[in-house]
């Protein structure tokens, strides 16, 4: 291949990588509304392998992490603070490092992945990547039926 052609291929590679980066960034952290699957809190808790008592009264943020996830600790702090500041909302962090079956059951392809359950134990949303705080706060408001003061 000629030098100019090789340079063009490299430029195309750079362009493709940039485009991929923008696509990933646009999708990362979006709150994707689920179809409300799952029957009740105890079924949802059993599927996740946690005690039903660990679920929140109004909503539960279930965060999937692994031991080697650069952005999971930050997400855990973010979701922990959100849960602490919203009544009836709990945050659960599940380490998938030892749970390949759980990762397969919930089709987790990236960490952190966050599932949002309502008070009845139905899955209401799924978030891949560190959640966008504003979008998640809006969803939690609708789940906890609490209106926020517009700033």
């Amino acid at each position: 291949m000629h030098w100019s052609a090789a340079l063009l291929v490299a430029l195309a590679l750079l362009g493709a990588a940039t485009a991929l980066g923008f696509v990933l960034r646009a999708r990362s952290g979006r709150v994707v509304v689920s179809r409300g699957g799952g029957a009740d809190a105890s079924t949802a808790a059993a599927a996740l392998g946690v005690e039903p008592a660990a679920f929140g009264e109004r909503a539960t943020l279930v965060q999937f992490s692994t031991a080697l996830c650069s952005r999971c600790p930050g997400t855990a702090r973010q979701l922990g603070a959100l849960a602490a500041g919203t009544e009836g909302v709990r945050h659960l962090e599940i380490d998938l490092t030892d749970e390949p079956a759980l990762a397969a059951r919930f089709a987790v392809l990236q960490t952190p992945t966050t599932l949002v359950y309502d008070g009845a134990g139905r899955q209401r949303a799924r978030i891949g990547g560190p959640p966008r705080t504003e979008e998640l706060a809006e969803l939690l408001d609708s789940l906890t039926r609490r209106t926020r003061v517009q700033s």
């Binding site: 291949m1 000629h2 030098w3 052609a5 090789a6 340079l7 291929v9 490299a10 590679l13 750079l14 990588a17 940039t18 991929l20 980066g21 990933l24 960034r25 990362s28 392998g49 946690v50 692994t66 031991a67 080697l68 996830c69 650069s70 952005r71 600790p73 930050g74 998938l96 490092t97 030892d98 749970e99 390949p100 759980l102 990762a103 397969a104 987790v108 392809l109 990236q110 960490t111």
Partner: protein
């Protein structure tokens, strides 16, 4: 794999290293495609050695990481938060695997493997440097799901 907490690092260090690595990998793609086969192979071999350094000694001791600490970090504000060095260290291992495959196949008489491996490694390094995505870290979960990586502790002790 150790579960002991290692010293936290400035997350901008690995991204700085990834930027230099990505630039060199892109140069390697051009060299490999333009027919400078020996130069491309030597550069990829050098980069594979750097990946090995990062993977086995840890990202904190990677030469580009040391460069960051000496020259760049003193000029910047302190980081907003520190980060666990294990995910980027694991990603260095993934980089070693990709670059190493290209080096071995290149030595076996497949010169096109060198720019292809360099292009794959470039994609991961570029996304890390420019967008903060750690593809190597995400691969860890997929390897767990494929049961390539075995749980570090037996499941018998777990309630789940």
């Amino acid at each position: 794999m150790s579960r002991a907490e290692p010293t936290a690092i400035d997350p901008r260090g690995p991204r700085f290293s990834a930027a230099i690595t990505a630039a060199l990998l892109l140069v390697d793609v051009v060299l490999g495609l333009a027919g400078a086969e020996l130069a491309a192979w030597l550069l990829l071999a050098a980069l594979a050695l750097l990946f090995a350094w990062g993977a086995f000694a840890g990202v904190a001791r990677h030469p580009f990481g040391l460069l960051y600490r000496r020259l760049v970090r003193p000029r910047l504000a302190p980081p907003a938060e520190l980060e666990d060095p294990r995910p980027p260290t694991f990603a260095q291992g993934v980089g070693l695997l990709v670059a190493g495959t290209g080096v071995v196949l290149g030595a076996l008489g497949l010169p096109l493997a060198v720019p292809i491996a360099a292009a794959a490694a470039f994609l991961a390094a570029f996304l890390n440097a420019a967008f903060g995505f750690c593809l190597g870290c995400q691969l860890y979960l997929l390897l767990i799901r494929a049961r390539v990586i075995r749980p570090a502790r037996p499941l018998a002790g777990s309630l789940r």
